[in-house]
Amino acid sequence: MADQKDQKETQQLTGEKANVGLVERAKETAAALKDRALEEAKDYKDPQQTQVWKSIFRVSHQRSDPRNRSLAILSNVFLHLHPAKINRDAVRYQYTWGMGGITFYLFIVLTFTGVLLMFYYHPTKIQAFADILYLEHDVPFGKLLRNMHRWAAHLMVITTWLHMFRVVLTGSYKKPREFNWCVGVVLLVLTLLLSFTGYLLPDDQLGFWAVTVGTNMARATPMFGNEGPFGPQLGLTPYNDVRFGLLGGSIVDANALLRAYIWHCIGIPLVASIFMAVHFWRIRKDGGISGPAPVMLESEMRPPKKK
């Protein structure tokens, strides 16, 4: 009795009829499956409705809904640096020249190409120069890689300066952005130091002498250099002054190469990333991009507030 009942239920669930042939049944099952697959495939036509998509993007992005345009920015870890909406005139490139953004993009390009270069480069006196030759002549696209890292670095110095210039021309360092300007100055120094430490790494004459000239100045640091004012009086020698600390020795040699490498690939990029995070965070906290703001008039200038 129980067996018969079970059988009946199974038949109902699978839609099979007890006394139809095996082939027939298979055909019918296949047809039903096909219908179902087609039905389900309709849902996949819109990838945004899939589980995978929704799991990644978390919210629906029906394009016509203005609320979703905001969510597209707010719910994305990369884009949420931005506000959902901005000053309608700030999207004109004439105002910021896009310089800060381009600088940041170049930093990303440099990180990317830099990591690839690290795969081929050893910071030792024996290998460094040979590695560059290897990159230039044997590594597929190695020359392009090296060139791109080099020129992006130069370009980043230029764009950082121009960015600073723009900030001055638009008075964007004024209240409440004074501190972010200072963060920017630190970023400028870090950008220059990144370039400088990178210059030594090919271990060729160009880098060697540039770094020799550069670090020779450190010798003359007041109080901290062995040739600087009050340095000798404070007991500094070529073997314990600030230059020795920078180079890890009294001459530009293996230790200097290693130190330049570590500063260049780890130390400074890490610090710069932190400062950039603060820079971007402060832009938002200071009320977004400063303008184009409505002009103020001379006649509206108030005398400074007395506390």
Partner: protein
């Protein structure tokens, strides 16, 4: 709105003619085009050559916007009623337009486009030009000239004018600290978030002065300094055997503080020298301070003042009421801080450059511990 005066047309023409004549003279005097090409086309110099075009371009782009804002400001200053209703931007505006746009897609697409363009530029540049690679490092073979990368040539060039402790350590530190205090000493509340020259003449000019000086030092370091860091005009061949007999005097020697004149009191000489130098430097700071005090109260400078002494005096004597108002807004601490950085960088740098290049004076202050 001011219409361009016929004078400004004429001035532009004169300027153009002068520029053409100067360039023509230079072209005529070039001895060695190959040398110029070698410097300009060195791949590591391409960025500074690019800067020679980029800086004027972006200056133009900024000044253009400043001018149109300034015109609007003048218009609104003269029309209180319009000032109340105007949206106060030169960008178009109609009632009913949203003040804010969605970042997605209006900003994100601009950013994307910028990224694509920069990427394309980088590819073209990297395919066309190879990063330099010299012989392997060799401590026994000095490169001559041994130059830093272009963005440090300003520092390296400063070594000509100052001892390394100033050029390499003190000046860069003062410049960086000076940049950081810039927002705190500029007490002018106007011009926050829009391009303007009219409302921020002095601040913008001071920064541009520093910026241009920096670029100028780099240009000298890149294009003019040859072997032995000797001055070669652009177009002169870099002759490795050139020797320059610099007389390298110190200021006190010129003014008679020399061993001959102190034959009977030689032990006093270092003291006299030291005190002399101290007085010179203090005097420089006082005069420099007075100079900036005078300059910051002046109205706009017009180039026609250069050819008309009468108009120049009128400009030089009278302070500008607006600038006076700004000055009244500035605290004493802000004022003194600005003066310190302005005199010790913006003024000291060109003055020392002038003393060194024109009068071959090496030091103005000599002490047993340091020289300035």
């Amino acid at each position: 709105m001011e219409s361009p005066k016929p004078n400004s047309r004429r001035n532009k023409l004169i300027g153009l003619i002068v520029a053409v004549v100067l360039v023509g003279l230079w072209v005529y005097s070039v001895q060695d085009w190959h040398q110029i090409w070698k410097i300009v086309s060195a791949p590591d110099n391409v960025p500074i050559v690019a800067m020679l075009f980029l800086v004027p371009f972006f200056t133009w782009l900024g000044v253009k916007q400043a001018k149109s804002n300034d015109n609007l400001i003048v218009e609104l200053e003269g029309d209180a009623k319009l000032a109340k209703t105007h949206h106060r931007k030169v960008e178009p505006w109609r009632p009913g337009w949203a003040k804010e746009l969605h970042v997605w897609p209006y900003l994100v697409r601009v950013e994307f486009l910028a990224a694509v363009i920069v990427t394309v530029i980088l590819y073209v540049w990297s395919i066309a030009l190879n990063a330099p690679l010299e012989e392997p490092a060799n401590p026994n073979l000095t490169m001559n000239p041994s130059k830093a990368p272009w963005y440090f040539l300003g520092l390296q060039e400063m070594l000509v004018y100052f001892d390394p402790w100033i050029a390499g350590v003190v000046m860069p530190s003062i410049i960086m600290i000076g940049l950081m205090v810039f927002p705190y000493v500029d007490s002018n509340p106007l011009g926050n978030g829009y391009y303007t020259l009219r409302q921020r003449r002095f601040a913008v000019n001071m920064f541009s002065w520093g910026f241009l000086m920096w670029i100028l030092l780099i240009v000298i370091g890149t294009f003019i300094r040859g072997p032995g860091w000797i001055w070669f005009w652009p177009g002169q061949t870099w002759d490795h055997n050139t020797v320059v007999f610099d007389r390298n005097r110190d200021l006190h020697e010129i003014l008679g503080v020399t061993p001959e004149n102190f034959a009977n009191h030689l032990s006093l000489l270092p003291w006299v020298r030291g005190i002399f130098g101290f007085l010179v430097v203090s005097g420089f700071f006082i005069l420099g301070g007075l100079f900036f005090h005078w300059l910051m109260r002046k109205g706009p400078f017009r180039f026609s003042y250069l050819i008309s002494p009468k108009r120049f005096w009128a400009w030089a004597k009278l302070p500008d009421p607006f600038e006076l108002k700004l000055l009244a807004n500035t605290s004493i601490l802000q004022y003194m801080t600005f003066q310190f950085f302005a005199v010790s960088v913006l003024l000291a740098m060109p003055v020392k450059l002038f003393l060194r290049l024109v009068f071959t004076i090496k030091y103005v202050w000599v002490t047993p511990w340091f020289n300035v």
